[in-house]
């Protein structure tokens, strides 16, 4: 047994902007243990429910994360709707899913670009982000913002998308798919990419289950966990939904799962556009949540399952709001995947869980 050395990793590290700190315990070049630490970016957003009324808090909720901002406003709105028994119009449900799937696409493409950058493939990073820009343009065309949309609210959505515009979005996605397939071919077949990802940071299905991992990180280890499978919203109207699974559990499998999910999202959007009914997009929300009333909502965010809990106190302010983000569930799994790897592979493994520490600390 060689001498053990502890190397600090983060919270400021060139490979990922998220402030996560790890104490890496090394034996020569091999990592034998990793001790994670978060707590560098806490903003106290949950506490703000006491200062912003429940309808206005949605603007704070969507600022929990800069990437899945729509997902957080969607999850919060669903929790409030469950708390106050509000029926969301069908068209609004479909529109929410279209925006949510678009944000999943942009999140995954952002991640694929960052992953390419992490393993030193600059041009792949640039091309992936160039393609992602089209999704951001769709956001701006439909909701007015590129990142923060401010379009979801308890009871529905603020603005409608015309059917002709929805068709135009499908056309943009169809042209994008051709270019996306070329980028995917590089990700999956290029020998330099494979040499950095295949067999690195393997997490077995048993370990993934044991540590309660979620999202593409769990699905890459063969765990069939996807919130969209059991969703009662417009997702239940999909003809078929099969989660993207891989049994390899390595960095390559995580990359593959996310890349395939972008394609799956395009299919879901196309199906939603075909099925979208006409009608109202917002139900009226009146009154305040009852005292002691509790509700929760589960959402499949791009990074995995997120959980939202709300409790009312009879006033327009909520008593409690709590979010459990996917990264919080994935950190123990990430540590398990890091154990036994080479020091040079640590950035890759951390990146492949797609950590969002800002979400986790709120």
């Amino acid at each position: 047994m060689g001498q053990r050395t502890v190397i600090p990793f983060g919270p400021q590290h060139p490979v990922l902007p998220e402030p996560v700190h790890l104490d890496l315990v090394l034996e020569d070049e091999r990592v034998v243990d990793a001790i994670p630490q978060i707590g560098f970016i806490h903003r106290g957003l949950e506490k703000l429910v006491e200062k912003r009324d429940y309808q206005r808090y949605v603007y704070v909720a969507e600022r929990i994360c800069g990437i899945c901002s729509f997902g957080h406003s969607f999850g919060y709105s669903r929790a409030i709707e469950a708390l106050m028994n509000i029926e969301v119009p069908e068209r609004a449900q479909h529109l929410r899913i279209i925006w949510h799937e678009l944000s999943r696409m942009h999140s995954h493409m952002l991640w694929l670009g960052l992953a390419a950058d992490a393993f030193g493939f600059e041009s792949l990073f640039m091309h992936t982000w160039r393609l992602r820009e089209r999704i951001l343009e769709i956001f701006e065309r439909t909701a007015g913002g590129r990142v923060i949309l401010s379009v979801c609210t308890p009871g529905g959505v603020f603005s409608d998308i015309e059917n002709t515009e929805l068709r135009a979005i499908c056309d943009i996605l169809a042209t994008m798919r051709v270019e996306y397939d070329q980028i995917c071919a590089t990700f999956f077949e290029d020998s330099s990419v494979r040499s950095r990802l295949v067999g690195v940071g393997v997490l077995s299905q048993e370990t993934a289950r044991e540590f309660g991992t979620v999202g593409p990180f769990a699905r890459a280890s063969g765990l069939a966990i996807d919130g969209r499978m059991t969703d009662t919203d417009a997702y239940s109207k999909l003809v078929a939904f099969e989660p993207i699974l891989s049994n390899d559990g390595d960095c390559y499998a995580r990359c593959w799962c996310r890349a395939q999910e972008v394609r799956q999202s395009i299919d879901i959007i196309n199906e939603m556009v075909d099925k979208i009914p006409q009608g109202e997009v917002r139900a009226e929300v009146k009154g305040n949540p009852a005292e002691g009333a509790e509700a929760f909502a589960r959402m499949e965010q791009p990074r995995g399952e997120a959980f939202y809990y709300v409790k009312g106190n009879g006033t327009k302010y909520l008593e409690r709001f709590r979010v459990r983000t996917p990264t919080a569930a994935n950190i123990p799994g990430m540590v398990a995947a890091i154990r036994g790897c080479d020091l040079a592979d640590v950035p890759n493994i951390i990146l492949t869980i797609d950590p969002c520490i800002s979400c986790t600390e709120r």
């Binding site: 603007y59 792949l124 091309h127 701006e140 007015g144 401010s150 071919a185 290029d190 020998s191 330099s192």
Partner: protein, 148 residues
């Protein structure tokens, strides 16, 4: 062999237009929905203060007596909440972004002199009417008390 998979795409990029815009030399594209900055038609405004009360960042201030509407552009988050709640459709979201500024100044919008005159006259008329009604009610009350 799996090398040079991205070669064709990269070569294409070499001979095509840049994917990004050379701002500020090129004009940015604004869409119909683009959230730029809040614009107010002060003459339409009722100065009810709903936009200020419901603003999530308290960026708006409304003075009913002075007929002024003030916005702090540094605080505004372009959520469009004020546009949604305005009953008079006096607020609109313009597509162009607000001008950059190095000083923290609040923009104050004042009602036009003609509209102010009109509203002050209407308010005076309303006050006179109310005073008259009050007087009449008082007189009636007095008369009733005398009869009794």
């Amino acid at each position: 062999m799996g090398e040079f998979k991205l070669g064709r795409m990269t070569l294409k990029s070499l001979f095509s237009k840049p994917a990004t815009k050379l701002y500020p030399f090129e004009e940015p594209t604004y869409y119909q929905e683009t959230k730029g900055h809040i614009v107010i038609d002060v003459d339409k405004c009722r100065y009810c203060g709903v936009c200020a009360n419901l603003c999530p960042t308290n960026a708006i201030e409304v003075d009913r007596k002075a007929y002024t509407w003030t916005i702090d552009r540094f605080r505004c988050i372009q959520c469009r909440n004020c546009v949604h709640v305005c009953t008079e459709s006096a607020l609109i979201m313009a597509n162009e972004y607000a001008e950059p500024s190095t000083e923290h100044v609040r923009e104050v919008f004042e009602i036009s002199p003609e509209e102010r005159e009109k509203r002050e006259a209407a308010a005076a008329e309303k006050a006179a009417k109310a005073a008259k009604l009050k007087e009449e009610a008082l007189a009636k009350k007095k008369a009733k008390a005398k009869e009794e």
